[in-house]
């Protein structure tokens, strides 16, 4: 069976999915099931306190724990540091996520710009070094920059997770060549994280040689998230198979598929 491992943990599914932006927990649960994913990302945030609740904050799904809806015997939980703008914030959040989730894995995000949500690479490297020293398994969300990916790897990252396009943009892989170059040099798993809009984007990421794809909005924001989750499941598998199969070279001109001899009337 075609599996891949991060930091010694083996996964069969190469699709990693998020838990944000779903219209309801039940749709999220069905989408997770349809995706076939084994690893699920979550965010770490302050709890709603009774005072805020009494002051009229709406009671809703947020009041319940997200983990009420996730079968943790089936899914591996990957806490993120989304929304952190400094290495210090990201490190604090990672430490809290470790305690809340009882695993030492973290999807490390240190954002450098509000509008694009592009990473702050300098702070990302600093946070990676700190967390690796504290025995975290660090999966950094990064630019599609081969040099930065190499530096993260040298800093001890367990995988590199370059973006395909800005988070939530749905633009697809904007720089396929960079993903290919990162593939060529990376000695740790390469996960394309963010930017996927539809199934073909996920398939392309896999055809370029990614070990996996991480997505949230493309599924949660689709009109039918459960059907899109299944599409992504199939696309990731199709793209992986195509990558392993060795595609034909691109050519300028046609090359007939049917015999050129024995044509009737010649």
């Amino acid at each position: 069976m075609d599996t891949f491992s991060i930091a010694g943990k083996t996964f069969t599914s190469r699709l990693i999915v998020g838990t944000g932006k779903y219209s309801s927990p039940s749709i999220m649960v069905k989408a997770h099931d349809a995706s076939g994913a084994e690893m699920i990302t979550v965010a770490v945030r302050r709890v709603n306190l009774p005072a805020a609740r009494a002051a009229g904050a709406p009671r809703g799904p947020k009041e319940e724990s997200l983990l009420d809806y996730i079968d943790t015997s089936k899914y591996f939980i990957l806490p993120n540091t989304a929304g952190c703008y400094t290495a210090e914030e990201a490190v604090r959040t990672a430490r809290l996520g470790r305690e809340a989730g009882l695993s030492n894995w973290v999807k490390l995000e240190v954002i450098g710009d509000e509008k694009t949500l592009f990473p702050d690479n300098e702070a990302l490297l600093e946070a990676t070094r700190i967390l690796v020293r504290e025995d975290f398994i660090v999966l950094p969300y990064t630019n599609d920059d081969p040099v930065v990916c190499r530096k993260l790897e040298d800093a001890g990252a367990a995988a590199v997770m370059p973006l395909g396009a800005p988070i939530g943009s749905g633009l697809g892989i904007q720089n396929p060549n960079n993903i290919r170059i990162i593939r060529e040099f990376a000695r740790v798993p390469l996960i394309v994280d963010a930017g996927v809009g539809t199934a073909s984007d996920a398939a392309l990421a896999m055809e370029l040689g990614a070990d996996g794809v991480l997505m949230n909005t493309a599924i949660a924001g689709a009109q039918d998230p459960v059907a899109m989750a299944e599409a992504m499941n199939l696309a990731v598998r199709a793209g992986r198979l195509a990558y392993l199969s060795g595609r034909i070279p691109r050519k300028m001109y046609a090359s007939a598929s049917s015999p050129v001899e024995g044509l009737v009337g010649r």
Partner: protein, 66 residues
Amino acid sequence: MTIILNGDPHEVTRPLTVSELLSQLEIDSRRVAVEHNLVVLKRGTFDNVVVHEGDQIEIVNFVGGG
């Protein structure tokens, strides 16, 4: 006495353990992580760590995210 709870002042009657604070707030301690004056607490220490006047407490849990 006043503590800083998730960034805002919060009144409690006396120094109390983290477990007692969570219980007063009706928060299930199994579902959260707690930071006390910038130090993340191991779950097993909630009964022992005492919160004093002016202490900073952060209580977090998991929410949806990508």
